[in-house]
């Protein structure tokens, strides 16, 4: 185990640096630079202004100089400075991180728990009415575009019923603190988390149902039935536990993309998350910021992968890490 971890960590460092290097050159392929975008937004500009911007951003340096300074930054875990936003990249990410973690955490937790339960119920009642209803609902949510659900929820619950705010993360200038603030954020969180959660929920429902039905067909389940174990116990102890592996795998993939957030949902609900920040940085050619976010994302992905591997061994003792 210790040997496995040691080897993994070595590989992880290698992978992360590799991704950083590829990102650096990949992003340079996008036509246009930050100075052109800013001059364009300004509606009018002068060549002197653009030259001043390029000098400020370091874009007047040859590519290899830019690359070496980037590499030095990566190796010292310095994410650089976003000239457009006028802030260090690490600070910008730290500002947006809580919003992203809250939204993604809530929606994934909702999706796994509710989706898993629904899938479990559907599998236990396979072929009967409950299964048909659950499967149909899951299919509808799976097939519906996320932005459509989002806009529909806003129209119904915000505009029509006036129960929930249209967007944002907290009431502006409310002066709320402590529990009041938490309640306010929770109110703003409901619609975006639900929008995102409903889509994920469908995935987990379908996955859980399929995976459980597969395990139900295996010999050891028949043996358990034959020796008179009660169906409830079979479902929970024999089937569910074995069916969890694909769920964990999917969860791992999803957690890996957590920092990317959900650009569509963040945009529709004006949620101040990292996904929107990255998306805007791309259009603004704010490469330092974009590289910083991608770097953090790659770190999360590799560590979640490691965690998933470890989780396998807990769920299924037959799996060994070597």
């Amino acid at each position: 185990m210790a040997r496995y971890l040691k080897r993994s960590l070595g590989q992880i460092a290698f992978v992360i640096i590799g991704i950083a290097v590829i990102n650096f050159f990949l992003l340079r392929l996008a036509p246009g630079d930050a100075a052109q975008v800013m001059a364009g937004e300004a509606g009018s500009a002068t060549p002197e202004y653009m030259a001043a911007l390029r000098q400020q951003f370091g874009l007047d340096q040859p590519l290899y100089v830019q690359f070496l300074s980037y590499l030095k930054n990566v190796l010292t875990l310095n994410l650089g400075y976003s000239f457009r936003q006028g802030m260090p990249v690490s600070e910008l990410i730290a500002l947006r991180l809580p919003a992203t973690l809250l939204l993604m955490g809530t929606s994934i937790a909702f999706a796994v728990s509710v989706g898993g339960t629904l899938g479990f119920l559907a599998a236990r009642h396979a072929g009967r009415l409950a299964d048909t209803v659950i499967s149909s609902v899951a299919l509808v949510f799976y097939a519906t575009p996320v932005f459509w659900i989002g806009v529909m929820l806003v129209v119904v619950f915000s505009v029509l019923l006036d129960w929930l705010p249209v967007g944002g993360m907290a009431s502006i200038e409310s002066g709320l603190t402590g529990l009041g603030y938490a309640a306010d954020v929770a109110q703003h969180l409901i619609l975006p988390a639900l929008t995102l959660g409903l889509f994920y929920l469908a995935i987990y429902t379908r996955l859980m149902r399929a995976s459980m039905l597969e395990v139900y067909g295996q010999d050891f389940v028949r043996t358990a039935r034959a020796k008179g174990v009660r169906p409830r116990r079979i479902a929970l102890r024999h089937v569910l536990r074995n069916a969890l592996l694909p769920i964990v795998t999917t969860l791992g993939v999803q957690l890996g993309s957590i920092l990317g957030g959900a650009i569509l949902v963040e945009t529709v609900f004006a949620w101040p998350g990292l996904g929107r920040l990255a998306f805007e940085a791309l259009f603004q050619r704010d490469l330092n910021l974009l590289l910083g976010i991608l770097f953090c994302s790659s770190v999360v992905v590799v560590f979640v992968n490691l965690a998933v591997d470890l989780a396998y061994t807990v769920l299924d003792p037959r799996i060994e890490l070597s």
Partner: protein, 546 residues
């Protein structure tokens, strides 16, 4: 796949929303008096989020929308585009046009309490307007000296006259910065750029990036009693459907610069609690145009360019694509600039037969497939309206035998392609003309911009020595009549050559709450302050949460 199309959903959503809005909350008690009422928080849509809040080097639209409320200018502009006193109470222009004297208002203070004096104006002119402000550099170039005989008088001495400066002296056109906070610093990186200190009616309070920005009432504002509102909250709402919902629900009560797609405007305008307003943009006077790349082997022939002009039905474009929010343009200088606009220029009435005749004359016959030649079109990547303008062009030119391939890209790629690489045939764009053609119009035609790779300058690649001479002469002409004559001559030539095809005088629109009064009172309203705005009657929907 979606069970309904997006269009059908929106139609259904509109119907629901319409039903909702007839509820009793919107039938506010008509306690309408004409006297403005103090108090209230106004929520405003700010989209996209600005990069900086100080319009010195970056004069992007959202920056100016916020800055107009923080910074007062020497003057403001009425609907007739004539300057009205603000920080300058009066001014005199010497008969030779070489001296301009401004008498400044007394008793004005910066938001940090320091007095506003002539030295702030002098410093801003010398260090911002003359050097890094992208629109003003050329206008203030000929200022040879700035004298401040006392704290409330500024005298500008010119080596050559520069009449257009009277068109840019508002708070964002010629921003006056506090000298005591900027002197000796790196202006582009001064921390006060993002927490501005001005003399205007609203004081900067907080900016939560990605969320909102708050300005508060300036209790020490020189115009006693104003502003009426306690607070302005600018909200960043990136999604158009969410913006429409926020406006409809009343969470936002003021939304300038086309905050929602045209298809939503009619619906919103019909609601009793909302008003759609197209005034307040006169100072900008934007004109939509196609740049025809004159280096292209087909487009270099003036007959081909004239044929394209005849092939595009501008009235239909205004109606079909722009939902009536535009008026067919006659000349690159819009009709709002009455002193300069020349309606007698060569016009190109919609006439496909004439277009075909011109193309035949130029020697481009239809091939066996009916196509004479093919061009590409890169539309301005600022949303759907420009893409549909491109599709309109494609249809129009197909009729006369020109095949058009439309290309899409983001703004970084567009600017590089059109203005740096010049790798395009026809592009679309719009320029704000501003009250003087020197500021926003001639940059499309002056050949001095070629090779500088600067966005929104001579995109067509047009070079005409006569046009250049007229532009350069008008810049330093001290006699207003002679200047107007130069610009008329300029319009005659460029409309004969049509390197750039003016399409529409765009009408931008603002959506605001019906009970918000005094929000649209000036020709530069959208870039000025909301010092005259007030809520008539209870703002029933506004203060809730957001």
């Amino acid at each position: 796949m979606a069970p309904f199309s997006r269009r059908r959903f929106l139609a259904a959503a509109s119907a629901l929303a319409l039903a909702a809005s007839v509820g009793p909350t919107h039938l506010q008690a008509a306690a309408a008096t004409d006297a403005p009422v103090r108090g209230g928080t106004l929520s405003i849509i700010l989209q996209p989020e600005p990069v900086t809040l100080t319009p010195v080097a970056n004069v992007a639209q959202p920056t100016q929308v916020v800055a107009g409320n923080v910074f007062d200018g020497l003057v403001t502009y009425g609907f007739d585009l004539k300057p009205a006193p603000q920080l300058a109470e009066s001014w005199e222009v010497a008969p030779d046009g070489l001296t301009i004297t401004f008498h400044l208002r007394k008793g004005v203070t910066w938001h940090d309490g320091k007095p506003f004096t002539a030295s702030d104006v002098k410093w801003s002119l010398e260090n911002v307007w003359k050097t890094i402000h992208p629109r003003n550099k050329a206008l203030f170039e000929n200022v040879s000296a700035v004298e401040t005989p006392d704290d409330h008088t500024v005298v500008l001495k010119f080596s050559k006259p520069s009449l257009p400066i009277f068109s840019v002296l508002n708070g964002v056109g010629a921003p006056i910065l506090p000298k005591h906070l900027y002197e000796g610093t790196d202006i582009l990186n001064n921390p006060y750029n993002n927490k501005p200190v001005g003399t205007g009616p609203f004081v900067f309070k907080e900016w939560r990036k990605g969320e909102y920005l708050v300005l508060e009432r300036n209790p020490a504002y020189w115009d006693a009693g104003k502003p009426y509102l306690d607070k302005l909250v600018f909200r960043v709402i990136p999604d158009a459907a969410a913006r429409a919902a926020a406006i409809e629900k009343g969470e936002v009560q003021y939304a300038p610069f086309n905050p929602v797609p045209f298809r939503d405007v009619e619906r919103l305008a019909a609601l009793p609690n909302l008003k759609v307003e197209t005034r307040g943009y006169e100072w900008l006077s934007p004109v939509l145009y196609f740049d025809l790349n004159v280096e292209n082997p087909y487009l270099k022939d003036v007959r081909v360019r004239q044929a394209i002009a005849h092939a595009v039905d501008k009235a239909a474009l205004a109606k079909v694509v722009w939902f009536g929010y535009g008026k067919p343009a006659v000349s690159p200088i819009p009709s709002t600039l009455t002193a300069f606009h020349d309606p007698s220029v060569p016009t190109y009435p919609f006439d496909p037969k004439k277009a075909e005749a011109l193309l035949e004359e130029a020697g481009f016959k239809r091939g066996t497939d009916g196509v004479r030649f093919a061009l590409t079109h890169d539309f301005l990547p600022y949303g759907d309206d420009y893409r549909r303008t491109g599709e309109f062009l494609k249809q129009a030119l197909k009729r006369v035998g020109i095949e058009v391939a439309i290309r899409a890209q983001d703004s970084g790629a567009f600017i590089k392609r059109v203005y740096a690489d010049r790798d395009f045939d026809i592009s679309s764009s719009y320029n704000a003309a501003f009250p003087d053609p020197q500021i926003g119009v001639v940059r499309e035609y002056w050949s001095g911009w070629l090779g500088t790779k600067t966005p929104w300058t001579n995109g067509s690649g047009y070079r005409n020595a006569q046009v250049d001479a007229l532009i350069e002469r008008a810049a330093v002409e001290g006699n207003p009549q002679a200047r107007a004559a130069d610009f008329r001559a300029f319009q005659q030539i460029v409309q004969r050559d049509v390197p750039t095809l003016p399409l529409l005088e765009l009408k931008f629109f603002t959506v605001h709450a019906a009970n918000l009064k005094g929000a649209v009172e000036q020709g530069d309203q959208v870039y000025s302050s909301l010092r005259n705005a007030w809520f008539d009657g209870p703002n029933a929907d506004a203060p809730k949460g957001n």
